[in-house]
Symmetry: C2
Subunit: 199 residues, 2 copies
Amino acid sequence: MSYFPASLETLIDKFAALPGIGRKSAQRLAFHVLSGSDEEADSFADAIKNAKKNIHFCKVCQNLTEDEICPICSSSRRDRSLICVVSDPKDVLSIERGREYNGTYHVLHGVLSPMNHIGPDDIKIKELLVRLADEEVAEVIMATNPDTEGEATAMYISRLIKPFNIKVSRLAYGIPVGSNLEFADDATLNRAIEGRTEM
Amino acid sequence: MSYFPASLETLIDKFAALPGIGRKSAQRLAFHVLSGSDEEADSFADAIKNAKKNIHFCKVCQNLTEDEICPICSSSRRDRSLICVVSDPKDVLSIERGREYNGTYHVLHGVLSPMNHIGPDDIKIKELLVRLADEEVAEVIMATNPDTEGEATAMYISRLIKPFNIKVSRLAYGIPVGSNLEFADDATLNRAIEGRTEM
């Protein structure tokens, strides 16, 4: 039996439906919204509607954008012959933060995951192949996460790219910059030794 | 420099402004909203607007309600001569869950906290005194939290009630039901001995 008014319960339910938000947190968030001004609540609600309405996939790289083609794909300073394939829009942000990569991206929006019934048609692989057929691409860098599903996805896509005669590379594995060998796990250390470079 | 579209950044900012939600969590929540259907996003936004629009304080007990007077205050089965003073609407829910208390409530919406510049005029004390003057009240139960600020608030209010010649009581301190003496802290155990009852 609930003693909160119906519209408060509804709001708590909405917050509780978000990932990683439990019932207690949802209550706290709902009370926070109630304790703010009308304008704050309205602008929060509008932000949700606007984001959902305005944001869609870039026609070229499938990254999230408000335009037809995202700022990276439409930039004249970007090297279009280089495509970095990532699983998630957040990964684009991570690589951009480094300020060194100058090519374009392709966002898969997921990885192959038979356990979760996610197959090749559920992620943006077809769109990548269309790009490879239409554009002059010299190299595709597979930058999916270095976990089982990310590896499998990279492997699967690299095999599809083979017929195009385009170079496919993978992010280097190794010890993170600034870390300590003592704390590196065995698999990472082995990969770092395998992939050693001449000084 | 941000590489998310503006309306997505706005939504992330809104989530990040909620208590206990960091930047990374806010991103995750915003992406969750984007990944859902248009209807889901709309109903979330509407839930925020509706809650903020429909919910206000009960004219009697100051609890949150959609009506002028909340279901508890307007119920004929409630003992109006008994008022339980709590600091937060969530505390009403906690006590109601016990299904034993049959009186009414008064929600302070906060506790006195000089550190945070919250004084007697910032919480619903005045409204409680008006009730005591207007209604036939036999007893006020102070049920603020058993911490420093809750104690100080209970003490402050009980002194204000004194002139009304109304009985003021405080929730009992003691060991929680089902717990283990071994794990009770000293202060609780001392209070449990002080407050011992005859068997």
